[in-house]
């Protein structure tokens, strides 16, 4: 029995269906540990993104997607509270860096506040911008160009700006869907190091195609296959001695 205080999110019997005849996420139950990095692995199309997007209720933006089960964040079912509140507490970083193209770097960091209609004092705004950019290691690089558009940054810098944008709202949990798959190796390493530091502030779930990445940065790993959670446990355990033969053959490069 795991101590509830060390768990940020309990996923209970989660199912997601795009069409009535097929579950893209099928009866998944697991715990997401607090202040750790949890990696979700599995071959393409196994339902990683679908699972992740259920956690901040993105499926509600489209018609006809069925979500059932329970997602208890600090003990409260997030499927039963206001979706906008959930999304403020559960941040998301996407596969392709997507800073808002018409906003300056500073406005991108503050976008969560302006999109929620929250007005801030100037000093407050400055401190949030500085703090958020510092925590993604971008402050020194952009502090003289805060009023320039975010889209002029390099891909890796843009992705760190997107992480800062999510962090600015002080979420409990951040969801990342293959955040480095569009980046070069150096930018990828920068972001991996950053995530390892960030986990002291926020719990992180990261979907990754890259087994090496999961091994390097995550403490817990989940392996999915055809919509099911095949195996979940400590990353060390899973990489050294996977319990399921499907996990074993994925990790040895035979599927996916």
């Amino acid at each position: 029995m795991e101590n509830i205080n060390n768990t940020i999110l309990e996923i209970r019997d989660l199912c997601v269906a795009y069409t009535a005849d097929k579950l893209s996420v099928s009866h998944v139950s697991t715990d997401i540990p607090r202040n750790q990095i949890t990696a979700i692995m599995g071959p393409s199309g196994c339902g990683k993104s679908t699972l992740l997007r259920a956690i901040n209720r993105m499926h509600e933006l489209y018609r006809g997607i069925q979500v059932s089960g329970e997602l208890l964040i600090d003990g409260q079912d997030l499927l039963k509270i206001n979706a906008m509140r959930v999304r403020r507490e559960v941040g998301m970083v996407f596969q392709r860096p997507n800073p808002f193209p018409t906003m300056s770097i500073a406005d991108n960091v503050l976008a969560g506040y302006s999109l929620n209609g929250i007005r801030l004092e100037k000093s407050m705004r400055q401190s949030i911008v500085e703090q958020s950019l510092k925590s993604v290691g971008l402050w020194n690089e952009v502090k003289d160009s805060l009023t320039k558009r975010g889209t002029f940054l390099s891909g890796g810098q843009q992705q760190r700006l997107c992480i800062a944008r999510a962090l600015a709202l002080k979420p409990k949990l951040i969801l990342m869907d293959e955040p480095t798959s569009a980046l070069d190796p150096i930018a990828t390493t920068t972001i991996e190091n950053l995530l390892v530091e960030l986990k002291n502030e926020v719990s992180i779930i990261i979907v990754t195609h890259n087994m090496g990445q999961a091994k390097r940065i995550s403490q817990k790993s989940l392996f999915m296959y055809l919509g099911e959670l095949v195996e979940g446990g400590s990353t060390e355990q899973m990489f050294s001695d996977p319990a399921d033969r499907r996990t074993k053959s994925y990790l040895s490069g035979n599927i996916g």
Binding site: L61, R87, R88, R165
Partner: protein
């Protein structure tokens, strides 16, 4: 080797044909601009922009005395600007909102039907819109008016703005919208602070092109605004416009010398709108 030479020759042939055809395409445009500019400059003075159109009597007296024909097109300019303002005030906000709606609900039956209707409206001959507005507005209001003219122009602008907004919003990557909503943003603020600003350049271009399309419309105004010999600011009264004046000058042998200058003013206005839309498109690239 010969085969290679032949292919190089073919490639050159194609290249030069394209250049020649492109040059030929420009001929009519240059010819039109040249004719209007040369003829139009003759009577174009500053006074031409600030004086109302002369009456036949004034024109006959002036030419009998050997003077240039007095007067200008200020009544038409004021009318054109007022009616553009009124029709834009309605068609721009309504058109943009409808365009966003159609782009956002593109898969619903309602949106598909509305979208199809927009196409039909866009293809409706403007003279028919003039007749309709005559029946629906002019007759009940018991008179021609700038309001009726603006309504006719508004109906013509709407589908153009709806369509360009719809295309602009559809082209935006859905990832911006998802990113905004994933930050807890409300749908309204997501549209207002992310979607519309990101599509602004293209929407604005669409508006400018819509204005340039209707500024030269004559037929619908003949049934609605009718025309007016003096500078008219009262929008409940008949009003003139530049294209209406061009039609009147053409039909009146004594006023024909003014025809070209009025055409030149209208043409320059439309060209300016087109050039601005190009500039906006390039400046607001995201």
């Amino acid at each position: 080797m010969d085969k290679l030479k032949f292919r190089i020759f073919k490639s050159h042939l194609l290249h030069y044909s394209v250049v020649v055809l492109a040059a030929l395409m420009a001929v009519p445009l240059v010819a039109i601009l040249g004719k209007v500019a040369v003829e139009g400059f003759r009577n174009l003075t500053l006074e031409f922009l600030f004086q109302p159109a002369p009456t036949t009597y004034e024109a006959v007296m002036a030419s009998a005395a050997g003077h240039a024909i007095p007067g200008g097109i200020s009544n038409g300019l004021v009318g054109t600007l007022l009616m553009l303002l009124m029709s834009s005030a309605i068609s721009i906000p309504v058109g943009i909102l409808s365009g966003v709606f159609l782009a956002e609900h593109r898969s619903t039956v309602f949106a598909k039907v509305s979208s199809y209707m927009t196409d039909i409206l866009q293809g409706t001959p403007s003279i028919i819109l003039g007749v309709i507005v005559y029946a629906w507005i002019v007759i009940p209001m018991k008179g021609y008016s700038a309001i009726a003219g603006s309504i006719a122009l508004c109906i013509m602008m709407l589908p153009l703005i709806v369509r360009s907004t719809e295309e602009a919003v559809k082209m935006l990557s859905s990832s911006y919208k998802e990113a905004a909503l994933a930050l807890g943003g409300s749908y309204f603020r997501t549209v207002w602070k992310v979607l519309l600003p990101s599509a602004f350049g293209q929407i604005f271009t669409g508006v400018l092109l819509a204005v340039s399309r209707i500024v030269g419309e004559t037929a619908p105004l003949m049934f609605t605004a009718l025309g007016c010999a003096i500078v008219q600011w009262d929008v409940t009264q008949p009003m003139s416009s530049v294209p209406l004046l061009i039609w009147q000058f053409f039909n009146n042998p004594t006023l024909q010398p003014l025809l070209w200058s009025a055409s030149l003013v209208l043409l320059v206005f439309v060209l300016l709108l087109n050039v601005s839309s190009k500039i906006v498109t390039n400046k607001w690239k995201i």
